[in-house]
């Protein structure tokens, strides 16, 4: 791989999310109260754990957005899959089966999205807006309008406890020792591993290049022999699978299947992806950027939560930061000129 030159446009684009994160951390470090409370290993462990769901969702969403689409059903699918996980555990499936089937369920929702988008040729915004309601409805139906608590059936009098995989799933997001940085919960490692894999897939496989091509210009992609429909269906299905995995994590976090969880999560995920440098018109974006975007948002929420600010301050600040983080783009020309002057004076 060739790395973009220092100060070049590509370099600044790649570095932007990191710069945003850096600015946020710097501001926190300047605040005396936050410095001691925020910059603690145990706190970072919490932030990382809080990032996992959004980050895993953002990996799927990055693909969708890079391909020029959008998936508004992400939050509902996460909720649906948290319920599916709960039901599967209740029925006594093992960890592998629970993971597989939940991810499949998410993938199925994505498959439906992609199928409708490509065969009926409809705007993704609308199809996934519809799916948002459908998945939410199904999750409520599956959960019987309640939260699903698989543990509860695991009384002492039952010989074969049906919820035997509960503990393993709970483990994903469990803090073993809350006051230290290590050990990190399994979910964090899983998310990191997936991020690396997906970054390589999107950057350096033929499929990844096709995703970019489709997002950049669908007609051109078709003309260049890319099977746009097949690829799109794959993209939405894969994204759905990621939302499914995020659903498992959501279950693990709440230790229950909650059909009303993750409302508005899709917007958080989209914000993370866009802060990470993706363009909603398609053709641009990156996995590391999106993950950093998710992490930055979690830092902000954590920081302003710790700092005793009232809720409304927190909402205002996060709103402002979303705008700033993306608007930074426009400051780039100046930075670029700065770099150029330096390098030319050398």
């Amino acid at each position: 791989m060739n790395f973009p030159r220092l100060g070049s446009r590509e370099f600044l684009k790649a570095v932007r999310p990191f710069a945003g994160l850096f600015v946020v951390l710097l501001l926190f470090a300047l605040d005396g109260e936050l410095r001691s409370l925020f910059f603690k290993g145990s706190n970072f462990k919490m932030i990382l754990t809080q990032t996992v769901i959004v980050a895993i969702g953002a990996m799927g969403m990055t693909m969708v957005i890079v391909s020029g689409g959008i998936d508004l059903s992400a939050g509902s699918v996460v909720a649906l899959c948290s319920v599916v996980t709960a039901r599967l555990i209740e029925q006594g499936h093992g960890l592998a089966a629970v993971l597989t089937f939940t991810v499949l369920a998410g993938g199925l929702a994505g498959l439906a999205n992609g199928g409708i988008i490509t065969t009926v040729r409809m705007m993704p915004f609308i199809v996934t807006l519809g799916m948002m309601g459908i998945a939410r409805g199904i999750s409520k139906w599956l959960a019987n309008n309640q939260t699903v608590n698989p543990e509860s059936c695991c009384g002492a009098d039952l010989c074969r406890c049906p919820g035997f995989s509960m503990e393993s799933v709970k483990q994903f997001m469990a803090y073993e020792s809350p006051l230290t940085f290590f050990p990190l919960p399994d979910g964090v490692w899983l998310a990191l591993g997936l991020a690396v894999v997906m970054a390589v897939v999107l950057r350096s496989t033929v499929f990844g290049r096709y995703v970019f091509a489709i997002g950049s210009n669908e007609d051109t992609a078709r003309l260049c022999g890319i099977r746009v429909n097949v690829n799109k269906v794959a993209i939405y299905a894969l994204a759905g699978a990621f939302f499914g995995l995020a659903g498992v994590m959501q279950f693990s976090r709440l230790t229950q299947g909650d059909p009303s969880v993750a409302i508005g999560l899709e917007l958080q995920i989209i914000a993370a992806v866009v802060i990470g440098g993706a363009s909603l018109s398609g053709g641009a974006g990156s996995i590391p950027g999106s993950v950093i975007g998710a992490f930055m948002m979690a830092c902000l929420a954590n920081g302003s939560g710790i700092k005793d600010w009232p809720n409304y301050m927190q909402e205002i600040i996060i709103g402002v930061v979303i705008i700033l983080a993306v608007g930074m783009d426009k400051v780039e020309p100046f930075i670029q000129r700065l770099f150029k002057r330096q390098s030319s004076s050398n």
Binding site: E33, S36, L37, K40, S42, N43, M46, T49, Q50, K140, N145, Q146, T147, N149, E151, K170, A174, Y175, S177, P178, L179, Q250, R253, L254, T255, Q256, D258, P259, S260, V261, A262, I263, G264, A301, N302, G305, I306, D308, N311, Q314, E315
Partner: protein, 317 residues
């Protein structure tokens, strides 16, 4: 947990985490917590009260984040009204592991890793409401139950208490609908009430509402169809400026009220006692009462209805 930086100088720092912040009920809890703080300070025990609800109300995940963030920050203790009786188990257990004791208020939690549980007996409240409605209807007629929101332990207990009471003691009363949920906001509750009434508006004789937002919205919807003023008997739960008005005007036949000021007060007091090393009771009941237009002028009811919020929270902003 007491090694944290900011608790050394100004005594204990205690965070009080409600389910949300916009309902007037939580304002009273806040007032109770401040009342406790003032009394403790007067007795030479400085306390810092941090009041922090989840950013998005009725979102379990958000409340978990709030709890976690305060574990990371390292407060001395927490008073928590859990949005869910299971989802908040792990955060509370994590707090316990980190040496931060938690007092649960308002709604139950399925663990024993807390210091104490201070709340109303919600099932009893529901039963009181059911009994009153049953009596008002003379043991026969059709009633509706509009549930609050999925998974909220306290309201689920009230709803169950109400249904149990009707089933056991008023066999002549028919429950027309008991599976609709109002949702978390007044607006959702209003739409749900309207839609429910356009179906059952003609046959319904009594309605039970399990919390404040449902009570106010349902009363408004009943007035809309011209059945206010007691033509349909409404039993509500909790108080608000609007529901008291409705009680006075006769639109509402009775309100089951808790004592949120006491709940907030005892929550903080119990926590401080626990932090001081004293043994505290695992379960503390703050009582319920039924208010009707007849007894609402009685002095102790008045105290319940108009808690001196300004005294503790200051006026206006």
């Amino acid at each position: 947990g007491s090694q944290s930086g900011d608790s050394s100088g100004n005594g204990l720092s205690i965070v009080v985490i409600p389910k949300g912040t916009t309902h007037e009920f939580w304002k009273s809890i806040h007032a109770g917590a401040i009342k406790a703080k003032q009394e403790l300070e007067a007795s030479g025990q400085p306390v810092k009260i941090i009041w922090k609800g989840p950013l998005k109300e009725d979102d379990r995940d958000e409340q978990i984040k709030v709890v976690e963030n305060f574990i990371a920050r390292g407060v001395d203790g927490m008073v928590l009204a859990p949005l869910d009786d299971k989802a908040l188990v792990r955060p509370v257990e994590t707090a316990d592991e980190a040496g931060i004791p938690v007092v649960i208020i308002d709604s139950g939690l399925q663990t024993d890793k807390y210091a104490s549980f201070v709340s109303t007996d919600n099932a009893l409240g529901g039963r009181m409401g059911g009994a009153r409605l049953g009596k008002l209807l003379g043991g026969k007629g059709n009633v509706l139950l509009l549930r609050y929101a999925v998974g909220s332990a306290s309201t689920t207990k009230r709803e169950q208490g109400f249904l149990d009471e009707i089933k056991e003691n008023f066999p002549g009363i028919k429950v027309l609908s008991s599976d609709q949920y109002a949702g978390a906001t007044r607006d959702l509750a209003y739409t749900a009430s309207q839609n429910l009434l356009s179906r059952y508006g003609n046959e319904v004789n009594g309605i039970f509402c399990p919390n404040e937002s449902v009570t106010v919205s349902m009363t408004k919807a009943v007035r809309d169809i011209g059945k206010g003023g007691g033509m349909v008997k409404i039993i509500g739960f909790d108080t608000s400026v609007q529901s008291l008005r409705d009680l006075k005007s006769g639109d509402v036949a009775g309100l089951v009220v808790q004592n949120p000021v006491k709940m907030g007060y005892l929550g903080v007091m119990t926590l401080v006692e626990h932090l001081g090393g004293k043994a505290v009771a695992k379960r503390i009941d703050t009582g319920v009462a039924l208010i009707t237009s007849e007894n609402m002028t009685e002095p102790d009811m008045r105290e319940l209805l108009n808690p001196p919020l300004e005294k503790y929270l200051g006026t206006g902003n």
